[in-house]
């Protein structure tokens, strides 16, 4: 393995980990889960680093790992229990704002495909075309996910929620 492997990985981690944390938080709505998912995804990346180096979009691979891990209830049981038994509690995270609580709660009512599209679009600034490429779906499908996702958010947020408007970015991409 090349001498600069650690450095390459560390650079990749530094450049991408915050974005992955946004994505993981958008999917799970739980800071502790997001924190662990990010570490686990990069741990798996490190195990495969030599092969991943040839990948065109390593961040997409990380997000695929997060997608899978976030839904595995048995894994979460084990991880949280192991964390509680073996490690001190994670550092304190500032409490979320009211907007965040409302939106995260609403996100968790959505189908995974909609949640994933919304997270990619609004938290990672991915265009409709980029989301389509990453998910292997058509642009029309992605637009549908985003549209139905926004509608789902509006329904879940209910009458107390702010009126949902967008800046029309979907169509701009």
């Amino acid at each position: 393995m090349p001498m600069n492997t650690n450095g390459d990985f560390d650079d990749f981690y530094r450049d991408t980990s915050r974005r992955l944390a946004r994505y993981a938080y958008g999917l799970t709505g739980d800071p502790g889960d997001a924190q662990d998912l990010v570490q686990e995804a990069y741990a798996r990346a490190w195990q495969r680093w030599r092969r991943l180096a040839d990948y065109e979009d390593r961040e997409a691979w990380l997000r695929l790992v997060v997608n899978r891990l976030s839904a595995d209830r048995w894994r979460r049981l084990g991880v949280r229990r192991a964390r509680a038994a073996a490690e001190p509690p994670p550092p304190h995270t500032p409490p979320p704002s009211e907007d965040t609580v409302l939106l995260i709660r609403a996100m968790r009512t959505l189908p995974m495909a909609h949640r994933r599209a919304l997270a990619l679009h609004y938290l990672l600034d991915r265009s409709v075309a980029e989301i389509a490429h990453e998910t292997g779906s058509s642009i029309g499908t992605v637009k549908s996910w985003l549209s139905r996702g926004r509608a789902g958010l509006a329904a879940a947020l209910g009458s107390d929620a702010p009126a949902l408007t967008t800046n029309g970015a979907d169509d701009a991409h």
Binding site: Y13, R44, A45, W46, Q47, L52, R81, P91, L164
Partner: protein
């Protein structure tokens, strides 16, 4: 309150940006330490089948200049194209967020999210590939479905839907199917005689009948809370003993069927709930953090019949534990990670507490497992097999390798779809079974079958021969 969706998501992003993250170095360490019986302790405890998840094989070996042993090349006995599928793919009906299937008792089980708050599960016969049964519409008590999954033993299938665990008869429809709820810090551990559940909130331990859910025995919090609260349930799932690790570091050995306290052991070094415990016959091996500064970790053995206990290995600063396995009667093997990702494999005589041999392992070794005295150390990208004298018997490159059974290794591709091979041990004859078109991380193997989930269906492959 902002009224624009972009503004609200910007608020979510700011919240996410405040989540404390570990460092890249910590991620690398975790990658090295990620073993199937480490961080996935619960999953490993539940899945009693061989966790042959992973990859495909590039096949091949290399000579190692710094070692006298020349690893023999596995000879290829057959060459085939696509792997041979058993039956037809079993469709899920939806494109699903995939998880790997599980195998138990000659069946493969898989669960998937079929609706907004609904999970489906099916069982298929591994030999024929036919669907044995399918259940749809499993719901949790929560309105928002976040997580799901399936684990199975010969006694029961456990389908988790958020905090609800549906316990089902592996053979099919049964009016005795029942549910329990478990929080994220609770433990649910299968034993042959009972399904054991520990409540994290107070340390209570309940054992349930597999078929009816009836409580067989219980260790109530009045007896175990306070200074000696139960923090962990361990033991050999197929054995008759349940071992409870208490807050004061003691081991309560109980009969799995009745809950009767057989013995309380005070280990030579207090047991720690976060350690890795390996049951082997009447022994329980523990590898975990050291007692104090300067002791990175230690290995403790406790005899569950006699109560004898001793510390058989201690390592100081600059070392970290990567794995522990029983490697023959009266012998344990330890994978140690030093600085710079270098590893050492050490075999220790349990009775005498002495090192039998200690040799360099593969760089970035992350897991260790054994069948008899043959020890496999894998990096996730390649693996080395050591014989009973600690000499390298085989190196397998570009593959994720695990034991398929006592006489065969399974090699899967390291990333994405690829080729599957099995390697006889000893003899090192490799048999190539063809390519699988699905992601290797979604596969499990047992005997002569490899079962893999694609996003749309379950596929079973023949890896006999």
């Amino acid at each position: 309150m902002p009224t624009d969706l972009d503004d609200i998501f910007a608020s979510v992003a700011r919240q996410a940006d405040a989540i404390p993250l570990g460092t890249a170095a910590q991620a690398r360490t975790r990658g090295r330490q990620r073993t199937r019986n480490g961080i996935l302790a619960t999953a490993a405890a539940v899945a009693v089948v061989l966790a042959g998840v992973g990859v495909a094989v590039g096949g091949g070996t290399e000579r190692r200049a710094d070692h006298k042993t020349v690893a023999p090349s596995p000879s290829v006995s057959t060459l085939v194209g696509p792997a041979t599928m058993v039956g037809s793919p079993i469709p899920f009906g939806v494109k699903t967020q995939d998880q790997s299937p599980v195998i138990a008792g000659g069946r493969v089980f898989t669960a998937w999210r079929a609706g907004q708050n609904s999970v489906s599960v099916l069982a298929a016969d591994l030999h024929s590939g036919a669907v044995d049964w399918k259940v749809t519409g499993l719901n949790g008590f929560d309105s928002e479905l976040v997580g799901w999954g399936v684990r199975a033993t010969e006694q029961g299938v456990m389908v988790s839907v958020d905090s609800t665990i549906h316990v089902m008869n592996p053979a099919g429809a049964d009016t005795g199917d029942w549910v329990l709820t478990a929080g994220d810090l609770d433990e649910v551990v299968p034993f042959e005689k009972a399904l054991v559940r520990r409540w994290d909130i107070n340390g209570q331990v309940d054992a349930h009948d597999w078929r009816t859910g009836r409580k067989l025995w219980s260790v109530d919090p009045g007896a175990t809370s306070g200074p000696d609260k139960v923090l962990r349930v361990v033991g050999d799932p197929a054995g008759g003993r349940v071992v409870l690790v208490t807050q004061t570091g003691k081991l309560q050995v109980r009969d799995a069927g009745t809950g009767t306290l057989v013995r309380t052991i005070t280990p030579a070094s207090p047991a720690q709930a976060g350690s890795n415990f390996i049951p082997y016959g009447e022994w329980l091996y523990e590898i975990g953090a050291g007692c104090c500064d300067g002791e990175a970790y230690r290995v403790v053995t406790s005899n569950l019949v006699t109560g004898a206990s001793s510390v058989i290995l201690q390592e100081g600063a600059g070392h970290s534990p990567a794995g522990l396995t029983a490697c023959g009667p009266g012998r344990v093997c330890v994978l140690d990670q030093g600085d710079n990702a270098l590893t050492t494999v050490t075999a220790v005589d349990v009775a005498q507490g002495k090192k039998i041999w200690s040799v360099p392992g593969p760089s970035m070794g992350t897991s260790i497992s054994a069948r008899g005295t043959q020890v496999l150390v894998s990096t996730g990208q390649m693996a080395v097999l050591f014989d009973e004298r600690g000499e390298q018997a085989l190196r397998i490159l570009e593959s994720q390798v695990s034991w398929l059974d006592d006489g065969r290794l399974l090699a899967l591709p390291t990333l994405g779809s690829g080729e599957v091979a099995t390697i006889a041990v000893p003899g090192y004859q490799a048999t190539r079974h063809g390519r699988i078109p699905v992601d290797n991380d979604m596969c499990v193997a047992s005997g002569d079958r490899l079962a893999c989930n694609s996003p749309r269906d379950l596929q079973i492959y023949d890896i006999s021969g």
